[in-house]
């Protein structure tokens, strides 16, 4: 998988190159020309191999205001590599006109075929077409000038042009995208490492083809060239455009080496035409692969965004339901409680009347017991509402959750909330828990603490979080009225409450939720004089154990 930035907007405006970059270009241009000066026509710069043209186009495309430098590079390399020919006047003219062709090509590419497009099939085909037109224009201008100057005989014009054209074309097709997409290198490297088998296989394939084409049999025999297609096309299929460009680069270098290694004149022109075919095929194929990868990645990202927003929605609606649930629950629980209390009071009256043999007494008491069971059934249903669904365990940072809850409490209009103290370890490890469960538990604990301290003038509520061995302990402590011994004992049972208007459901449900997350909710010794409850949650193994 190789990532690309496939922007649809226009590419960034070209900037001025730094002097260092210009110098680097200059040296690279001359060096590339020098190494590729093989099998020239009549000792002129007409070779079937011109990688410098790819460099020129990339340079002019990416940086502005370098016309003079490029023309100078053409001129200097001509003089340095090939010496001054008889008609010296032709050199500056040729350098300037070729530079003009490439400057125009760079301008057109920028306008019509931004290089970001060389990640889609459409953009890549346009680029190939532009490269072919550029090369033929440059060739016509250049070889035409040589012909006018009688450096090239008129009857050799066509073959010289073909030689020139294929050299420039291959240079552009290979080097221009390679240089302009240099940013893909890190992700390509990662992709190569991810599939080492394929990488080694393609290297072996290139080597095998090289051996068959140049080391075995008749060097002029190009039947084996097609073997190069196997590794090159494989690279395109596996890693898209960047992978193919790397393979093609290796192939081009090995072609040059192979040709130079041969004593006799090998048909480099024919090889280069085959190379063109391979480049066009590979680029088009690589573009298809890259385009598909990009759209798959885009679809994946969209899907993830959609999933995220859906789960946010579900979370929000569940939070809203919690409030609604409280009201429904109050009604539902009140029904059996009302009946239960009434039956018990009726029984009491029957007994107080001194008529212990009232035939209605026994059935009334049995009905009272039934109502108590009905109430506990409703509570079980409530537990199932949360704990019955599988907890969605995820890696959670407690700090933002706690901060958000405390913030919400402070914003609410409850009395004494300015006295909430947060005490949290730095670098608290992440826990593995269900976010909604944790929010319900902690808001329950905080609400209890608030209720217990409402009638105090100097109320203090402390919420603390610290690491303890393999768990994170979150405690909520207060200096409220505390709990009687009996309440302490039955604390987590349903319907046990010290509050005048409480149902006694909060802690029982909270404990179920904590246990569903693999955690624990327990009573601790208050250091503030009120009540302290402690929630222990397991540290997330994956993230939590990092030092």
């Amino acid at each position: 998988m190789v990532s690309h930035t496939s922007k649809t907007q226009n590419p960034a405006k070209p900037v001025r190159a730094s002097p260092w970059l210009i110098a680097l270009y200059f040296v690279a241009h001359i060096a590339l020309d020098a190494v590729s000066y093989v099998q020239p026509v009549l000792k002129l710069g007409i070779t079937p191999l011109s990688p410098q043209t790819g460099l020129v186009l990339a340079f002019l495309y990416a940086y502005r205001g370098n016309f003079g430098w490029v023309a100078a590079a053409f001129l200097v390399s001509e003089i340095v590599i090939r010496g001054i020919p008889m008609h010296a006047w032709i050199l500056p003219l040729q350098a300037i006109s070729i530079t003009a062709v490439y400057q125009g090509a760079a301008w057109l590419l920028r306008l019509k075929v931004p290089m970001d497009g060389v990640a889609t099939l459409n953009g890549t085909l346009k680029f190939i077409l532009a490269a072919a037109v550029t090369a033929i224009t440059a060739g016509t201008v250049s070889v035409g000038l040589y012909t006018l100057a009688s450096l090239v005989p008129a009857d050799q014009f066509a073959s010289a042009l073909a030689r020139f054209w294929v050299g420039d074309l291959n240079g552009i097709l290979l080097l221009t995208p390679l240089l302009l997409r240099v940013a893909d290198a890190p992700s390509l490297l990662r992709a190569l490492i991810a599939q080492p088998g394929a990488f080694v296989g393609i290297l072996l394939g290139l080597f095998a083809a090289f051996t068959l084409v140049f080391l075995v049999g008749n060097p002029g025999d190009l039947r084996f060239f097609y073997l190069f297609f196997v590794p090159a096309i494989s690279a395109a299929l596996i890693w898209g455009i960047p992978g193919f460009l790397m393979a093609a680069l290796a192939l081009q270098i090995s072609l040059v080496l192979g040709v130079q290694r041969l004593a006799e004149v090998a048909p480099l022109v024919d090889l280069q035409f085959l190379m063109s075919t391979l480049l066009v095929t590979g680029l088009a194929l690589g573009a298809v692969v890259t385009e598909r990868e990009n759209s798959a990645r885009l679809a994946l990202r969209r899907e993830k965004q959609l999933r995220d927003s859906e789960s946010n929605l579900a979370r929000a609606s569940r939070a809203a339901t919690t409030g609604e649930l409280a009201s429904t629950l109050a009604h539902e629980l009140n029904q059996p409680m009302t009946a239960l209390v009434s039956y018990l009071r009726a029984s009491e009256i029957m007994m107080a009347d001194g008529n212990r043999n009232d035939a209605r007494l026994a059935p009334t008491l049995r009905k009272a017991a039934d109502e108590a069971l009905r109430a506990s059934d409703i509570l079980r249903r409530l537990r199932n509402f949360y704990a019955g669904r599988d907890p969605q365990l995820e890696s959670l940072d407690l700090q933002p959750i706690i901060e958000k809850l405390v913030e919400a409490l402070r914003r609410s209009e409850r009395a004494g909330v300015e006295s909430i103290v947060m005490r949290m370890d730095n670098a608290l490890p992440a826990v593995r828990a269900d976010r909604v469960f944790i929010e319900v538990i902690l808001s329950n604990l905080l609400a209890n603490a608030l209720d217990a301290t409402t009638d105090r003038s100097n109320a203090v509520i402390e919420i603390a979080a610290c690491r303890s061995d393999k768990t994170v302990l979150v405690s909520v402590d207060d200096n409220g009225r505390g709990m009687s011994e009996q309440i302490r004992r039955d604390l987590f049972k349903a319907f046990v409450t010290s509050k005048a208007d409480g149902l006694g459901v909060g802690l029982a449900v909270s404990r179920s939720l904590a246990e569903a997350c693999g955690g624990e909710l327990r009573l601790a010794e208050s250091s503030l004089g009120g009540a302290k409850l402690e929630l222990a949650l397991p540290i997330d193994d994956v993230r939590g154990e990092l030092p």
Binding site: S327, N334, T338, V341, A346, I349, K367, E371, L503
Partner: protein, 206 residues
């Protein structure tokens, strides 16, 4: 004919109906249970005496809707609502809608009996007052044109002589009409007469 006050208990929950019926009967109160507001409305009419004790949240017609319907039909029974805990908004709406009182579930039995007793006596008092008004209106209807005029003017605080001038009759004649009118209306003082004159303006009977 005297009708015994009745508590009309409405709750969709069978256990609550059963338990409250038992409790109320033990406390010596007459009660009748209905599983829905619709069933209760079929039974209730203007002659029903006692009070209504209804759950707020029920399938079909809710307690609030029942209250509105009772008002609309001029059934004139105090309505006590049973609410779930902390249902402030509904409670406020109930009181604004003319509910007699509301009780939170689970119900404290002493408070329940107290509230119901109050509601029943309130109903009895209201009923008594309505009966009295009706009797008085019936009496007013027996007055002649002149007697009615004298009653109206006395209600405005006019003296006999002023009434005589107003009606263009002699003060003696006014005295006669006044005596006859007070006899018909069973009034013994001018204060009673003024009270009766107020009924003339009431829109109940023309």
């Amino acid at each position: 004919m005297k009708i015994d006050p009745m508590i009309y208990l409405i709750d969709d929950d069978a256990a609550i109906r059963d338990a409250l019926m038992l409790l109320l009967s033990l406390r010596g109160m007459n009660a009748e249970a209905f599983s829905s507001a619709e069933y209760a409305l079929a039974k209730l009419n203007r002659d029903s005496r006692g009070c209504v004790l209804t759950d707020l949240r029920m399938p079909g017609m809710s307690g609030l809707e029942l209250l509105a319907e009772i008002n609309a039909r001029e059934i004139n029974l105090p309505v006590v609502l049973l609410t779930a805990h902390g249902d402030v908004a509904t409670t406020r709406a109930a009181l604004r809608g003319g509910a007699f009182d509301f009780l939170e579930k689970p119900i404290d039995e002493d408070i329940l009996v107290d509230v119901l007793t109050h509601a029943i006596s309130e109903d009895a008092r209201g009923h008594q007052k309505r009966l009295q008004t009706e009797t008085q209106l019936a009496r007013i209807n027996t007055l002649t044109q002149r007697e009615r005029q004298v009653l109206t003017l006395l209600g405005r605080g006019l003296q006999n002589r002023e009434i005589a001038i107003e009606l263009s009759i002699s003060p003696r004649t006014v005295e006669v009409y006044k005596a006859r009118m007070m006899e018909k209306l069973d009034c013994s003082s001018i204060a009673d007469v003024v009270k009766m004159s107020l009924l003339l303006d009431s829109p109940t009977r023309s």
